[in-house]
Symmetry: C2
Subunit: 186 residues, 2 copies
């Protein structure tokens, strides 16, 4: 599948009600009431306070064995029960991007267990990673997570575990946007 362009627009319109926007590292995003997730070439709702863009892409670190293990227990986005979601934009440091592939892989998985940690919350949490770095965006990654209210604690554990890793020392900007599904678009 070719990359899918996705725009996350924070403003007054969109099916997701914004519950919180918290800066984790570096500056936050402006407070907004609603979030729209716009796929492909469609225009984001007019008047958005911010629009973050990214593209899905091929996997950069997972081995075939890891990919197959993840795929077996991953669920698609858009499940009716998944009325909570999180958008976590991240920018990594120049030091991260200057590392070679084997060095980044060693930090990400062998020393930080990023993939293994994510596996623990499957199938409860659906997720999709979007790359913004080559698009000239302020964030390198936009990760979108969807989960049911009953799985919120597992999701918090995931986020906390990742933020405690060696990999996260290379995160120079991170914002944590939490939303929930609620009827109406404004």
């Amino acid at each position: 599948m070719r990359p899918l362009h996705v725009a996350f627009a924070g403003g007054a319109a969109g099916p997701w009600r914004v519950v919180s926007i918290a800066p984790v590292a570096g500056p936050s995003l402006h407070a907004v009431k609603r979030l729209a997730v716009v796929e492909g070439d469609a225009a984001p709702p007019p008047g958005a306070a911010w629009v973050l863009r990214g593209a899905t892409s091929n996997e950069r670190y997972t081995t075939r064995a890891e990919h197959d293990a993840l795929a077996a227990v991953s669920r698609p986005l858009g499940r009716e029960l998944a009325t909570r979601a999180a958008l976590i934009p991240i920018r990594k440091s120049a030091a991260w991007w200057a590392l070679a592939q084997d060095e980044r892989r060693a930090i990400l998985e062998e020393r930080s267990a990023h993939i293994a940690t994510a596996m623990r919350v499957l199938p409860a949490v659906s997720r999709r990673l979007h790359h913004g770095r080559e698009l000239g965006e302020p964030f390198d990654f936009l990760t979108w997570f969807e989960y049911a209210p009953g799985d919120a604690a597992a999701f918090e554990d995931l986020v906390a575990a990742l933020r405690a890793t060696e990999e996260w020392r290379y995160v120079e900007r991170e914002v944590d946007v939490r939303v929930e599904m609620s009827g109406g678009s404004s």
Copy 2:
């Protein structure tokens, strides 16, 4: 360094005179007389017959040892003696992009010796890789090579060696654009 956006514009303007445009796999590009290489946010010359865009990015396959070995003998673009250049746009197949990281690495280097083969023409050939896939471009990669006329044979050997590899079975479109530096812009 953050990714650099680069546009390759084929038309009637630009410092590079087009010597040949040859389809290697799939459809070719329209014949043009000149090529302009435009970095950053600058606009390509008006009236171009085609504009191919890409962004430099982090390395995806090289290990630290390979990176350091390459860096030690790599030369920058823009050398005065390098009056020949090649733009080789490539699109890889869906089968390639569905492979996991370890599978792509194994094909690219352990079985096709892509990095080791490229090393053989250093420092004679300068090169820069641009990624277009996440930009929604028709080509996944735009590789730009610069070399002196006396190193043309070494460059042909490189191109021929790569095209004979297992990796190249995943190339579904490739065009080979050869240019040379000549005074004036039209």
